[in-house]
């Protein structure tokens, strides 16, 4: 008898009666429903939870978007039809928030478009570069992999506060610059710099996560393809362009869409960092939804819900694009 045998005996002794108890109703169900419909029995709990806590709130949100007033309870809110959407979309020019009825919404949309474009572009670029370096034969590779992932573990509010302290008038950055004889700056008072730093800290905080995903993608590329390229005397750049990038493309697509969705949903870091200021220079669309629905007075739940429905629509489009691109890539 081997060492594992006593443990297996104990496990069987516990599991066998348990399996008999479960087996009896399952057999009856299978006889009644058939083996195909039995799958729904196993899916039912998850579908119930998803329906209750994800799908139902989405439907309720759409209902709120079609109502007005300040009452929280849906049954007490007067219907306004598409009034909230009309109010949001009422602009002379969508490129000029000043010409819009809800100028703060359109400022937040413009800010979010720029934020997502810059943040996602920079983040994927740096994440890919970092993953390529970490995939190579460098010393202390394990240590560096951890170091790049550490910011991901921090709470967004902690990230925001750390960088706020670094960038404030008497902060570390100005201390270093001043000590080195350079001119200091009130970074968060300048709209351009405040926006830059918002993008920067978001990239800094999330890059590690996408680096890990890309690193996994790189490690999945077969080594013999690179061997063949080396034998053919292919240059590093050609190897990257013709082998690494194409074979990494499915992973890159996943990273791109995840990053886009997360980017559009950004709220906590920037809210804690600048509060949307100076003015509305770093006001993003989710903060607009929060302030209109919960921070303002009266609380415009309908308008906030309508804005969030529009954001959800954009995210659905992005997700559909991902699915289309992934399928296209899979089928060559």
């Amino acid at each position: 008898m081997t060492d594992g045998a006593p443990r297996r005996s104990v496990s069987l002794a516990v599991l066998t009666p348990l399996m008999s108890v479960i087996e009896w109703p399952m057999r009856r169900l299978q006889r009644h429903l058939g083996i195909r419909r039995l799958a729904w029995v196993f899916l039912a709990p998850n579908l119930l939870l998803f329906g209750l806590f994800a799908f139902l709130p989405v439907l309720l949100n759409v209902a709120y978007a079609l109502t007005g007033g300040g009452n929280v309870l849906l049954e007490n809110r007067p219907p306004v039809g598409a009034g909230n959407f009309v109010q949001l979309m009422d602009c002379e020019s969508y490129l000029d928030p000043n010409s819009c009825d809800e100028d703060k919404f359109w400022r937040s949309v413009h800010n979010t478009v720029w934020f997502v474009t810059l943040q996602v572009g920079c983040m994927i670029g740096f994440a890919l570069l970092t993953a390529l370096v970490l995939n190579g034969p460098i010393r202390a590779r394990g240590f560096f992999r951890s170091v790049f992932f550490f910011p991901v573990l921090l709470s967004p509010v902690v990230v925001a506060l750390i960088w706020k302290w670094i960038l404030q008038r008497n902060g570390v950055l100005n201390g270093v610059l001043g000590g080195a004889g350079f001119e200091t700056h009130v970074w968060l008072l300048d709209a351009g710099w405040a926006f830059f730093w918002s993008v920067f800290i978001s990239v800094w905080a999330h890059m590690g996560f996408y680096t890990l995903i890309l690193l996994a993608g790189l490690q999945a590329i077969p080594r013999d393809v690179y061997e063949a390229a080396r034998l053919d005397a292919a240059s590093p750049w050609r190897t990257f362009r013709r082998i690494t990038l194409p074979m990494l493309m499915p992973t890159m697509l996943v990273v791109l869409v995840l990053a886009l969705i997360k980017g559009v949903q950004t709220f906590d870091e920037v809210y804690a960092f600048t509060g949307g200021g100076p003015g509305s220079a770093t006001l993003l669309v989710i903060q607009y939804v929060y302030e209109v629905g919960f921070g303002g007075s009266p609380r415009l739940f309908g308008l906030a819900a309508a804005a969030s429905v529009l954001v959800a629509f954009v995210l659905v489009v992005l997700t559909a694009l991902q699915l289309w691109a992934t399928r296209k890539n899979a089928h060559g």
Partner: protein
């Protein structure tokens, strides 16, 4: 002993325990009190409640001390959803009136009317309402703190009590330049804070029919001056300039650290100044500088209200009535270093719980400001329907003017539009 006897004894014991538990449960009243402290108000009230609990068997009041932002943003949503506490310390006095418990059936209304007078109207839904909804636990008034040590060092005379904003700005700039202080002046990022100076400058805020207008010539003129001070470096730019939305931001830490000569805030900061500044420098309360129309700050403060959804209305009324008793109210004011809203306590004077000469002088100065309040300021604070919306609109649009996103005229036009929308929504 046979089985029947044992079963009978066990059954009787169980029944007795259940009855005892049930009667205990029926007698026990636990109230939840959501509270936010500017200084130590919640801690003092929690301490005082021990006496009430000792006198009332079964009554327990759990004081949940939360950040101010939770009172502003989370509590209203909780109340709307019916999941709020039994008692709350609120600052949006009229804005939340629909959720308040009317204490009148449970308290001596004559005493309350005599003690709190006009302050009771701040908690009512409209002029026809005669209910008693809250005890104004903390009367505050906006005004300024001046770092008198810096004035001494700069050998600049402190402006007179009736000095204007321009005179204070000039003096503060001179002091800042001579002493190397980073900022001459600062004002909290708050629509409530800027209201007093705007009213002093002639802002009426309401039309002749009593409808809110917010923006008029007096208001716009002061905003232009305020923006100008930020542009020329008179006002510390980070307070209003680095935050967005309706985020509240004060400059107390900068004043405490000696970085500001003249800081416009309010009386609730007195304890914080007392505790934090100590002997580092001398400071005094100077009230609100004068404008062409008035030398008025804004009244405000917080009140303790019962929530009408409570399951224990009598107990809630008992708790609030406890704090409203003259001796208890005097103790609360003394320990929290707040100006009393209770008429008898104010008349008799409060023996404030502090050894600091600066603080005692400050509290006397704040009390003296109450008599200078403009009727417009009093009405604005009591305009529960839309005053919170007006404060928020003021902060957002002026910040946009400060950062150059909008011109002052554009910001004021937007503010007028925002108010019209808020008015329409509030009417639904």
């Amino acid at each position: 002993m046979n089985h029947k006897t044992i079963r009978g004894a066990a059954g009787a014991s169980t029944l007795l325990l259940a009855l005892g538990g049930a009667s205990g449960a029926a007698h026990a009243q636990e109230l939840r009190f959501t509270c936010s402290s500017d200084g130590n108000e919640c801690e003092v009230m929690d301490d005082m409640l021990d006496r009430l609990e000792a006198e009332n068997d079964g009554l327990t009041v759990a004081v949940d001390i939360v950040p101010y932002q939770a009172i502003l943003e989370t509590l209203p949503v909780q109340l709307a959803a019916g999941t709020g506490p039994d008692i709350a310390k609120v600052t949006d006095l009229g804005g939340l009136s629909q959720y308040y418990l009317d204490l009148a059936p449970y308290v001596d209304t004559d005493y309350w009317e005599a003690s709190f007078g006009d302050f009771l109207s701040w908690y009512r839904a409209d002029a026809d309402d005669t209910g008693i909804y809250g005890m104004h636990s903390q009367l505050t008034i906006t005004g300024a703190f001046a770092n008198t040590t810096l004035f001494e060092q700069a050998e600049v005379a402190i402006p007179a009590d009736d000095a204007s904003w321009e005179e204070w700005a000039e003096a503060a700039r001179e002091v800042a330049e001579k002493t190397g202080t980073p900022f001459p002046m600062a004002m909290d990022r708050s629509g409530h804070r800027i209201a007093g100076p705007a009213i002093g400058n002639g802002a009426r805020l309401f039309d002749d029919e009593g409808n809110a207008i917010l923006v008029d010539e007096g208001f716009t003129d002061f905003v232009e001056q305020f923006v100008g001070w930020h542009e020329d470096g008179t006002m510390a730019p980070e307070v209003w300039g680095t935050s967005g939305g309706t985020t509240y931001q004060d400059a107390a830490e900068e004043f405490i650290n000696g970085e500001i000569v003249y800081y416009y805030s309010g009386s609730w900061q007195t304890r914080r100044m007392d505790d934090s500044i100590g002997d580092d420098f001398d400071w005094k309360v100077t009230g609100t500088p004068c404008g062409p129309a008035a030398c008025s700050g804004m009244p405000g403060g917080a009140g303790v209200v019962g929530i009408k959804a409570t399951e224990h209305p009598e107990a809630v009324a008992k708790v609030i009535d406890f704090f409203a008793e003259e001796d208890n109210y005097a103790e609360l004011a003394a320990r929290t270093l707040n100006i009393p809203a209770h008429a008898a306590v104010a008349e008799n004077g409060v023996d404030f719980d502090t050894e600091s000469a600066n603080t005692k002088a400050a509290l006397r100065a704040w009390s003296a400001q109450v008599g200078k309040l403009s009727p417009v300021a009093f009405a604005y604070q009591g305009y529960g329907r839309l005053n919170r919306a007006m404060f928020n609109i003021t902060v957002e649009r002026i910040s946009q003017a400060l950062t150059g996103e909008l011109s002052v005229d554009e910001a004021m036009a937007r503010a007028t539009d925002d108010l019209a929308k808020a008015d329409a929504e509030a009417g639904q």
